[in-house]
Symmetry: C2
Subunit: 246 residues, 2 copies
């Protein structure tokens, strides 16, 4: 539909915005409202009906699912001899908030995101703004152009040029050391304490809890102590929102 | 490709299996190997290379993502005025292990799953066999026929006739009451205790921890106390593996 594209780019009332989007995304979007919504943080959204806001959160829900599916297929085909544990872990690195924030920044999404500037006081919140908008844009592209287009867009425009999968593969997300460093940085005391298994559970299972300043922040269970500690640390990192090495 | 279909159904060496699949799935599959793999539990799998088995686990990883995406889009369109919290919760009910096990059984997948019969001793394991195979079949259909076909297959052949979304919508997963009942059942003491927010955090945020027999098992944070309690209870349910009402 070249006529429609020409209309959007040169004659529509949103032509300036359409051109900006085209520069960033590499294609002429159809339904501009979707993209505007994808870049609208809830801090500046208005209620449209029944308490639901016209923010990017619903599109983020959709985009997260679409992105997960495209990356799952990519890894499934790229690593035919790796098990599902490997695939799951690598996918979670690719779609991690830290990685999506970076991608969003690289692509220049920060110039289009609308949010309440007072939020800058909350560094963590502002950090996830970028990744949230990234997912919402994926949702918007899906609603606007369908699955095949979105898949192609993600693979050729985003992942191939910007994501070094093999580097992520070897970069181990070591939750235990990340958590320990975080505790040291903020002067907190951390302990990994073995827990006795409840009766009836396999004696081969190890259970470990992470105790930070006297409070349990995660419990892990696995067939070896090291993995149990890693799981416990991962849960604690999630609970305490320790996303980056400090 | 009617010729290929006729070949698969009447002349191929796998014609009996193809007909069985056609009866269950409603279409003539192309790459039979994928479907055989989707029905093969790891207990009967053999190693193909580098320690990777020809079990259904990789396809399950893929199918889980595809199913999540199709259901996300369905709910996004079905409930235009519900927020992403509602959508996330409803999707997790639809793709819950309990629901997928039921679906798998209804569709007759149990007759095709290959597994080591000694596993019947492990009721939980056998239970998830069905749901795992369901996800793996979704992965197989995706690899065999692509996204549009799989989406259509899931919507018209599985979800529309077999999943009562509106019933699931009103069936509330009340983590707080589930957790309290579980504690009563096992004679454990449970408390929901408000936690003071760290300095710098919004004074509007409530933080609540769930303490069971003196140990913290989950912390929730939200803009109202009830939601914070619910989140904390949800985390505790997950940590303690409290999946069903006792």
């Amino acid at each position: 539909m070249p006529f429609l594209r020409i209309y959007y780019l040169y004659f529509s009332p949103h032509k300036a915005y359409v051109r900006k989007l085209k520069n960033i995304l590499g294609f002429v979007p159809g339904n501009i409202k979707l993209y505007k919504m994808a870049f609208r943080h809830k801090s500046v959204a208005t209620t449209i009906k029944d308490g639901v806001k016209n923010s990017n959160e619903r599109l983020e829900f959709l985009g997260d699912a679409v992105l997960g599916c495209v990356v799952a297929e990519l890894l499934f085909k790229l690593y035919p001899y790796k098990d599902e544990g490997f695939l799951t872990e690598l996918r979670s690195k690719i779609v991690s908030r830290a990685n999506l924030n970076q991608l969003s920044h690289k692509l220049g999404f920060n110039e289009l995101i609308e949010y309440d500037a007072r939020m800058i006081n909350y560094p963590n919140k502002q950090g996830s703004l970028l990744g949230d908008a990234f997912e919402a844009i994926v949702g918007a592209v899906y609603m606007d152009k369908g699955y095949s287009f979105t898949r192609e867009f993600l693979l050729t425009r985003i992942i191939k040029p910007h994501v070094d999968i093999h580097l992520l593969e070897i970069t181990e997300t070591n939750f235990k050391s990340r958590l320990i460093e975080w505790c040291q940085h903020f002067g907190k005391e951390i302990q990994f304490i073995p827990v006795e298994n409840p009766p009836g559970e396999s004696p081969k299972l190890f259970t470990v809890k992470v105790v930070i300043n006297g409070e349990v922040h995660g419990v892990g269970k696995d067939f070896n102590k090291k993995s149990a500690e890693k799981l416990a640390a991962e849960k604690a990192c999630e609970e305490l929102k320790v996303f980056e090495v400090v």
